[in-house]
Subunit: 499 residues, 2 copies
């Protein structure tokens, strides 16, 4: 069908422009010289202007209409129809955003990120406040453009994870809070606490780098189609054959780099393993943000924090790190790796307390967009919730509301997807355990191929064929629920802490 082919050509061109944007953004975050900021902002603004113009070109809307009303529409394959659906979904949103507004949003993202960086370095929220306020205003405007009838935060939540809303999140997050808070308390009260000193040992960056490259290869992250570099805030960026991950090293604690690189490798693996025949088609992308996040956490937590992974990896780890960890024994080490304790920093949080970091952000974002709290109040609200949920005192904002780059980069409504990913995963894991009953034995002997293939077949190779809630149901045969996550968490940590 001619209009379908034309539509796909437009999609390909726009994807290429998007990829260019990706490289420029990666460069900006990872290696760009300091003074290049203004220039780069102009490049990104121009690209996003062009992309917006192309994505909202009436031609695209016309082609979609022509295809959907075409006599031969029924002859299109499921994949082809899905491509049209996905393009229509984006087009209907994009077309509502004026070009100048899209450019302003992108440009302000770069500016706000610079002031966020300064603010974080100096632990001075006032440096960032004005740019954050402007970003919030811009995001309210954007939500209003998308759908002026709905609550703006609901609009952003649905934009970030198709099918979701405050109604759904309120439900699962209340369930999670109710399930997790008692576990966390029980853990805190357990006499059986892990020994930190098995982990917190000086480990030079050069050695950590060797370990990181080693485990990235183990989980099948392809370094010929990717890179591992350093960045202030680790992220993954790329497309099919060039998917780059980043890491930040801490010489006195190898775990942040270790687990964030497994996490980013998980993201990278999703992108690297989309079917090549989906390249430059709407189905050649993740099902959703949370599905992406889930793929990252699958590698990080389900594989990387399992007893069996360390049964296999500890000897190799000892070899790579020289004398530093020579004396540690497996069981106490695994317990230390899986230590649960409240931390100030989200990205350093363990998988149990992590959800509360997200719920905190979700609640603050919800209240910001409902005009219940102002930008001035964010630090105090943040600090109060940290005290309430995790019993933690925040003394400086660099470790509080300035810790994440997301708001500077306009990602409101995005944090909840981070928790969702683990909830999806727990449900997937129950199915994978049915399909591969001996998967833990495989890991124990350093084999990852079966699990890698299961993830490829069931998730990665499906790209964007289905929306996340459909995908969860299709893979597991059950409706999405947070209960698997809560059950898993109870099981795993009860054993570890002898509860």
């Amino acid at each position: 069908m001619k209009p379908y082919k034309k539509l796909m050509t437009r999609y390909k061109e726009n994807t290429i422009l998007g990829n260019i944007n990706g490289i420029l953004s990666w460069d900006f975050e990872v290696i760009m010289p300091k003074k290049g900021t203004q220039q780069r902002a102009e490049q990104l603004a121009m690209l996003s202007g062009m992309l917006h113009k192309r994505s909202t070109a009436p031609e695209i809307g016309n082609l979609i209409d022509k295809i959907q009303s075409h006599a031969k529409y029924g002859d299109l394959s499921t994949i082809e129809k899905r491509n049209v659906t996905l393009m229509k979904r984006d087009y209907d949103k994009f077309v509502k955003i004026p070009v100048e507004f899209a450019q302003e949003l992108t440009k302000h993202g770069a500016i706000a990120t610079e002031s966020w960086k300064k603010a974080k370095t100096k632990a001075d929220y006032s440096i960032f406040k004005k740019d954050l306020a402007k970003m919030i205003d811009l995001k309210k405007k954007q939500a209003h453009y998308f759908d002026s009838e709905k609550d703006p935060y609901d609009v952003l939540l649905d934009y970030n994870e198709f099918g979701f809303s405050t109604k759904i999140y309120d439900k699962i997050f209340d369930e999670a809070k109710a399930g997790l808070v008692p576990i966390i308390k029980a853990i805190a009260g357990s006499p059986n606490q892990p020994d930190d000193t098995l982990i917190l040992r000086h480990c030079p960056v050069d050695i950590q780098r060797k370990v990181i490259f080693d485990i990235a290869k183990f989980v099948q992250y392809d370094l010929e189609g990717g890179r591992i570099d350093e960045a202030v805030h680790p992220f993954t960026s790329g497309f099919f054959d060039d998917v780059r991950i980043t890491v930040k090293y801490y010489p006195e604690d190898f775990t942040p780099a270790f687990y964030s690189s497994l996490h980013e490798a998980g993201h990278g693996l999703y992108e690297q393993n989309f079917p090549q025949e989906f390249k430059y088609q709407p189905v050649g992308q993740a099902s959703s943000s949370a599905m992406h996040e889930g793929q990252a956490r699958f590698i990080e937590n389900i594989i990387g924090r399992s007893d069996e992974f360390w049964e296999f990896y500890l000897p190799r780890f000892k070899e790579l790190t020289g004398k530093t960890f020579a004396d540690v024994e497996l069981k106490p080490f695994i317990h230390a790796i899986n230590k649960v304790s409240s931390t100030k920093i989200r990205i350093h949080a363990d998988p149990v307390t992590y959800s509360l970091h997200i719920i905190l952000r979700y609640e603050i974002e919800k209240d910001i967009f409902a005009d219940k709290i102002t930008v001035d109040e964010i630090p105090s609200v943040w600090n109060n919730k940290m005290k309430d949920y995790l019993g933690i005192d925040i003394e400086n904002d660099a470790e509080g509301c300035l810790q994440d780059t997301h708001w500077a980069w306009q990602y409101f409504g995005y944090f909840p997807t981070y928790a969702l990913g683990s909830y999806y995963n727990a449900q997937f894991l129950s199915k994978m355990t049915q399909d591969i009953p001996n998967w833990r034995d495989e890991i124990r002997t350093g084999k990852i191929a079966t699990i890698h293939n299961w993830l490829n077949t069931n998730i990665r190779k499906k790209g964007g064929l289905q929306d996340p809630l459909d995908m969860v149901k299709d893979i597991t045969g059950k409706e999405f629920s947070a209960k698997y996550f809560i059950e898993n968490t109870k099981d795993k940590y009860s054993k570890l802490y002898g509860l």
Copy 2:
């Protein structure tokens, strides 16, 4: 004036697209993962298609016409008029080239480069010959499109360096040959030869890297507006506030990395020091290719190979390199650094013999375009000239007429600009010595500010305000001549070799 503003907006947009292209090409050359090639080629093809379309848009021609015939044309400032002139010069050329021809030329450039690579690897000129012949035909056609009345090689020379022709080059190159050949002979016959072993010592890449960053800072290359990375063939790429240089290290000889990084830093300094108010205007670029090359060679040769630089730098160099060069003494070291000896390979040539490599290429190109020699005859003509000018026997074409990539990539008429840069420099140097009589004493004590400012004021800060021949006359008060270069060379090397 409205059409002027419109024209400048177009220029700005195209420049930003060009900058994006620059970042993607830099990434491709320096850090891109292997598998990304196809994807990147698609990105670059899309950008260059867009750029070509935008540069040849009839709107640009119309705007230029409107401006030049506007009642208020006289009210434009000198800079504004110059901007229009420069845009017209490019547009008139671009617009004469049919799209299909431009595409064919680019495509054949890629094909010829592939066969050149094979030919060079196998040292078999016959593999490249056919594609070279076709490239020459295409370049004749291109020259004909540009100007059907002029000699095609004159057209290409003028295209590569505005205002130049075989008439000018014949004169300066004859003069250079007459001056240089006797010096080179005298040097070869001198009993006072330098000692290579003072330089050819194992120096690990990590240490060389420290030295490179140190000297780059010394010459005022701004690392907050640039980067230094590794690449197979060193190059400079960037724009105003983000100008990156690359270097290739050889552990057994520090001089290639040392001098090519000073060279690239010289290129970088030119770009980094264009006036900010010229940004996104045609005057915000180099006056010409040779002027750019000159700025690179000024830092590399006039500063970096001077006695005074090493008087200042040798102690610091010894400190940074540990014991490796601890025993070397200043005078013999300077002599070794300035060793003159005929080499087969242009890019390894010293500043004295270098000109003859260029003259040889110029004479061959001239005769090719005048149909005085055929493609079949190139190797023998090349080898005969190498024998005549430098006393060197070429045994295989990989070290002869196959050594450079330029012809495969369509750069005919470009080589001469490499020599020109040094000739401009020598004339500038005579003026700088009048303006700053003690500049050598400044270098000797590690001061570069006065020289840096002189180069900024007289050259870099002028951007593209003048064409190169006007610029030379304006700065020095004298017509351009090669005699300064010949005199300087005689002076410097007579002293070094005790002639």
